[in-house]
């Protein structure tokens, strides 16, 4: 395991929490899907149209151009939250999986996780930029969402408790992520590579000015991990459930309309 780059060694407790999260997530998904399949009418009137499905997936699910047609601000908000969260999720997953399963004697492992300067190899800098970029994206989207929902109070929005909970959780995840990154980079160990974490490095500068050190880093990482896992488990019961379900509806509708 390449603890040095992971910043935080994955402990048994973290794995146990992850498994618990996965179980709740699966149970939530199972509960919803079971309810759907209590419906016995045919799912579609026509056969699947692959071309229409692929097109809708790219333009309407990934790029979300149908939202852009309605409003640039709404598209920016939605796109930033979606891509930001997915980017961070991918970063964490790739890092965790690679650190465990990438054979140490490979060129890729040496590039990514070399302990030459105890902070990972040159390739690991991709993760530094990746994390900050998608983290900022997520924060930007959330900032727009908060302004629209709680400050401007856009008329068409209906705010339920679970919406507020989702926004609070995501915002906390993003903020604690940057807080952790800032605290980590206060460690002189990272002095030579800190600039790759372009946003985290600014926070680190502020923390240094305040006299803060990386001493409490692990506690914050734990909080960040705990909230992130809680959010993942909460997905099937929250507004975020549409992240999984809406794309299915979008592509099925496109397929049906193509006939």
């Amino acid at each position: 395991m390449y603890d040095s780059y992971l910043y935080f060694p994955a402990t048994a407790a973290l794995y146990a929490l992850s498994v618990l999260t996965a179980l709740v997530l699966i149970a939530g998904i199972f509960s919803s899907v079971t309810l759907w399949f209590k419906g016995k009418a045919p799912i579609l009137h026509h056969g699947l149209n692959t071309g229409a499905i692929v097109k809708a997936f790219i333009f309407d699910c990934l790029l979300q151009l149908q939202i852009l047609k309605i409003s640039f601000v709404r598209w920016l908000m939605h796109f930033c939250i979606f891509i930001g969260f997915m980017g961070l999720f991918a970063q964490t997953s790739v890092m965790a999986l690679a650190s465990h399963f990438l054979p140490p004697d490979t060129a890729l492992a040496r590039t990514m996780f070399s302990n030459e300067i105890n902070v990972g190899g040159a390739g690991a800098r991709i993760f530094d930029v990746w994390g900050d970029f998608f983290g900022l994206m997520l924060l930007t989207g959330l900032a727009i969402a908060i302004v629209r929902r709680y400050i401007v109070k856009t008329k068409q929005l209906e705010t339920l408790t679970k919406d507020t909970v989702s926004i609070c959780l995501l915002t906390t995840i993003a903020l604690t992520g940057f807080l952790c990154e800032g605290l980590r980079l206060t460690d002189p160990l990272y002095a030579g590579v800190a600039e790759y974490s372009f946003a985290g490095n600014i926070i680190a500068g502020i923390f240094k000015g305040m006299g803060l050190t990386a001493a409490s880093y692990k506690a914050w990482v734990w909080l960040h991990a705990f909230i992130s896992l809680f959010f993942c488990a909460y997905i099937p019961f929250s507004k975020a459930w549409h992240v999984f379900v809406s794309p299915i509806e979008i592509v099925l509708d496109a397929s049906e309309r193509a006939h």
Binding site: S32, L35, K38, G39, K40, Q156, S246, E249, E256
Partner: protein
Amino acid sequence: MENEIKTQETTTAAAPTETQTAEAAPQEQGNKKINIEKFSPRMLMELDACTRCGECSNWCPTYDQDSREPLTPRGRARQFKDIIARQHGTFRADCMLGKLVGTKPVTEEELAAFAKDLYACSTCMQCHFVCPVAIDTVELWERIRETIVDGGYGPLDTQKDLVLKTKNYDNPWGQPRSSRARWGKLAKKKKRIKDEPKDISKSKSGVLYFVGCTASYDNNVEEVGINTTNILDAAGIDFGILGNKEKCCGSVLLRMGDRPSFEKLCKDNIEQFNDLGIKTLVTSCAGCMKTIREDYAKIGKLNFEVKHTSEYIVDLIKQKKLDMKSPVNLTVTYHDPCHLGRHSGVFDAPRELLSLIPGVKLIEMERNRENSRCCGAGGGLKSGYPDMQNKISQKRVADAIKTGATELVSACPFCYQGLQIGIQAMNAPVKMRDITELVCLGLGIESGADGKADAAEADSE
């Protein structure tokens, strides 16, 4: 103003009066549990797919009149999801898990209130077109209505009347079957058409003109049938009608949620149509067209093509079977009927047809094509909530007035009725026209509308 509307409505066969108020009719209650099996897994998934972004509420014509959340497509989906989750979900009220988390059982009052709001919808399909997730809303609403009817909570009292009449008389207006083809006889008598349309069962013509209940029975819009007949005659088309053997297309039954009756009627009609050996079925009613072309096709196989008159007439003009020789110097605006446009995807043909009539200047309303504002007449809204329909219609008429056009043109007898209500209520400076009327003017045929007084006279005979 109200009297004018009532007058219009009383001549509209059995249309409800302005004083009728919508009441949910939770009769035959007892089967409180929604029959979830009637839905497809996709439909139930759609309830989860709604992101509650509220875009639908910006466009919904009924929410525009009554700003209550349960009237929005978003609110309806959320409420229904809540109902089925409490009745059928993992944490349903009648199971141990549900009791553990304190799930409340669904009450009859809740279902009755839900049903009442469910029918405050014209099924205009605008919500589908603006939904970023593209939820197939109307099919969902219609299926929910079906289960609500099964439970005895719908349709509303005034709508029940339409359903009963359709089942008993084969038309929602409760008029005798024997008078369905009376419009043709009267038109012939008053020399508004050259010959009565042929009985297709005898003529074995290749084209069936499906007149539809509204154009057949409502003397306010009978010129739709008369004009269509004149146009087809002018083109030399060998066509016929079913006359008194024509039955309602069943749209009313489907929209109200009486699917078993709809399916029976649909199968009867498909059998009747297919046995005729026709090549084309032409209809001037957007609702009939949507039902026959889109909904019948989900139940049975049709051995002919279905065309709206606007599509068919464009073809005839292109084939040079019609000579649009008379200039019609009118500035018009076109209202897309929901069932023709959003439901069936026919946006271009009526516009092309208008462009082929010499002298017609078309000015589009701000909301057109996919975003055309509904007139409020469909989906049972006009019978269930006449006041609301009146106001929705006025909004659409105001859209038309804003263009500066003198004529408001549509391509559906039901929209004609619905918009006429708004025009009368506002005493608006626009004249309601069916598109066939302008075609007749372009052909130099005396418009059916101009002979309306004669029709009234003939009626009284």
